[in-house]
Amino acid sequence: MKALICIGHVPDTTSKIKFTDNDTKFDTTDIKYIIGPYEELALTRLLDLRDAGNEMHITTVTVGLQDTEPTIRKALAMGADDAVRVNAEPLDDYYVAKQIAEVFKNGDYDFIVTGKESIDHNGSRLDGMIAEFLDLPSISGASKFDIDNGKIKAEQEIEGGTLVLDVSGKFVISAGKGFCPEPEPRIPNMRGIMTARKKPLQVTEPAEAEALTETVKYHLPEPKPACKMIDPENPEELVKLLHEEAKVI
């Protein structure tokens, strides 16, 4: 089986978010970048399935400039086999989805995996967009992904329940909660890091595409007033405040 997994290069969750150029650009000063948390879960699951004896070749794909390569090498150090980097600024989800669809067309992959949501722009659109470009089925927010005797098993969360899916042919799937049931973080060891340096990282130029959206301005939320502390001996005070001041009960 050949898997193509999208690896996002996103600011570490603990980063302090700031903007520059009159709040039109993300300020990258002092920002540490990581693999998107959902994508890391997805990659971990693929590696677990491979370790369990399923034959699988794992290629990562990232749309980004050269500064994304340390993140890509980390995915290789975790255990992915090779990588493709589309050498372009990820303008918007539509643009990125188009690039990934092209990479898929140029290989002989069986399926594409994405994370359910990116933590930078909090989009959750890539899976559906890629699938539509390729006219393939899409499974959004999968809560289960397994291989049983070479046959793929997947479940998808919908409101009020879960769909058990019969999967055949090529498809696009995005990893949600449950995709990786026992997420043991895979910390690359020295050997992994050394081998990752030698694994193939192919750089391709982007396909012709346009962006349909553009961020014109960022805003930081209004600072919250300080937390009002309530005497633990007097919980009635909290009830009163929730009712009269916050008006939420």
């Binding site: 959750s124 559906g128 967009m129 699938a131 899916l165």
Partner: protein, 324 residues
Amino acid sequence: MAVLIYTQNYDGKFKKSVFELVTYGKSVADMLGTDVVAVTTGNIDDNTAKELGKYGASKIVKITNSELNDFSAQAYASAIEQVAKNTDAEVIVFGNNPHGRAIAPRLSVKLTAGFVAGAVALPSSTSPFTVRKRVYSGKAFADVLIKTDKKIISLNQNSYKTEENPVDAGVEEFTAEIPANAYAVKPVEVIKSGGKLSVTDAEILVSGGRGLKGPENWGMIEEMAEILGAGTSCSRPVSDLGWRPHSEHVGQTGKVVAPNLYIAVGISGAIQHLAGVNGSKVMVCINTDPDAPFFEAADYGIIGDAFEVVPKLNEAFKKFKAEN
């Protein structure tokens, strides 16, 4: 021209979040000087469908294909595309929920319509068309310009208040053409999650963390939820340890929620947890550790032992509920 709203029904009924969408769509339609058309599927009777008229939908299109009883993002996107073309929809609104996440991106490619996922407010202007959304896990907002003629927005739950705006709504039936390959991935079974209030639907959430020491201590959390008509949720370690089901995990890699009131008991407030709950209108933190980061984010706090504070608080809530 029209504003088209995808109004999902659950076994023939609408949830409150759908009325939020229709109210939102009505406001967008007023900005554009056009009407609201709602589109829904499946077995829903006309009187229930007409409820959407109360919030401003002047037409409800009911897609009658029986294939759609099984969910497929391809089939739904294709059917809604046909309705969007027939109604000449300029703006299409979805909820930022599982159906919206599955269908809207496909529609965006079909119609070459720019898509903003997770909007939190009305467009700040319609020419140019700019919408505000949540980014960086709630640590910031972005104003996003949609450059195409057709636009798709998915609205975060609980970010727009329902408002009645009654119009006499007509119901039309429509049979869509479903592409032959739409069910290559096919649902074979639906596992219902039962009658429990889901964490994303609850207007109040009572949430427990590792500070509660073990699953046997959840009685007082469930009691508080029952008194307040709330849902229960938990932090990631709690679901990883198997104390509570994964469906209750809220946080960055769990569910992202935005209730009116979020009560965190024994949750320290790691940044990954806050990323999933910082859209809540009001947050309460109960923790023994005065340095717990949650106190920085919370509106109200009690420093104290949950095992002493929560039973007393439950009595106070009970008394309040009896009087109000």
